[in-house]
Symmetry: C2
Subunit: 219 residues, 2 copies
């Protein structure tokens, strides 16, 4: 059955899913790239950049999993770009250039309407202005038999955790202190929300943890 | 040179160092024992209980490190016992029976004076009522060439982090969500306090992370 999943989401030792002060120069916030170091050394990542080489260990295997059977993505607006408020025009097309790494329908949460944006390689960005539930419904319909991957950022994942919509989370716990930024857990009782650890897998640069919603809590 | 260290301190996936509602039946808070599972399966732990066997892998090696060259301990009062407010009498002698696992002078932070308590095996509990700085000064004097180990709990570690007193922390990050309890990181910017990861070591039941204070921040 189609699932709603968070995959390959990196979290710092102290619980941050992004650094502070995101802007054009710092898509993941200041020091955010330290969160991604488990991923940016893998073969999967390098292939995405059109490069050779890269590591092929546990981290790479976990990164691969993040792209398996994904029928649709959901992204928070800050994950799509640094622009806040109304779109000044339609020139911003995401952080990823002409061919984003999604290759399927990708639903962007925003308060500001914008026509769908078709990119090379199969990614179509749909801008959803009527809330997280609507975005999830649309993403599920678009995904068909595939899974819906909630890409982030932190605020988007927190909203879907709170509505009990996420079946599974793969977190890559990075051994770095972030100190400030966007905190994944503050004020969320992830156990009361029904999640338990199904698996944990030590990787080269992160501890991979798979959280699943207990069967008795799943809709 | 003698150091101030936090060792073998377990933290949940979501940043809790103890479960909620500590009492006589739940010294580590409700569900707190889940934090200790990396430790309670080791040979080191079993020997402490006078038992045979136990695992001898990475977790065991990390647990051993926690008892090497320790000249004095500091404990918060809740780590010493469940009693709050003035001591009703002197019958409470800690959670550990006649022979506690410390074997060196051990300084207990409290607001309520009490004479020193000498236990079997070399542990002497000293009750310090004039604050964390005083306890640290006394512990350093008692430790001599040995290190001072800050045993916990969370609130005690947070206080010493905030005063910049801790040279090194070994945290055992457990792949379990605690959901509620005592949070190690909330409102603390551990990076601004000068800490960085020196090492991370995947263990059988935890990711071990060694944080050290940057040299330019060390007194």
């Amino acid at each position: 059955m189609s699932k709603v999943r968070v995959l390959s989401f990196a979290v710092s030792l102290d619980g941050y899913g992004a650094g502070p002060d995101q802007d054009l120069a710092n898509p993941l916030g200041v020091r955010g790239p330290e969160l991604m170091e488990w991923f940016s050394n893998t073969r999967v990542w390098r292939e995405m950049q059109g490069q050779e080489g890269g590591e092929t260990g546990v981290d790479n295997r976990m990164a691969e999993m993040g792209f398996h059977n994904i029928g649709a993505w959901i992204l928070g607006r800050n994950m799509f770009g640094p622009i806040r408020g109304p779109w000044p025009d339609e020139s911003w097309k995401g952080w990823w250039g002409d061919e984003p790494p999604y290759h399927v329908p990708t639903f962007v949460l925003t308060h500001h309407a914008r026509p769908p944006l078709e990119m090379a390689g199969g990614t179509v960005f749909h801008f959803v202005t009527d809330g997280v539930e609507s975005a999830l419904k649309q993403a599920k319909a678009a995904a068909g038999e595939g899974d819906v991957r909630i890409g982030g950022g932190v605020s988007t994942i927190r909203q879907y955790l709170q509505t009990g919509s996420i079946d599974e989370l793969h977190l890559a716990i990075r051994p770095v202190p972030m100190g400030s930024g966007e905190h994944l857990w503050n004020g969320l009782d992830v156990r009361a929300l029904g999640y338990e650890v199904a698996e944990h897998i030590p990787g080269e640069r992160a501890m991979h943890v798979i959280l699943r919603r207990r069967a008795d809590r799943t809709a």
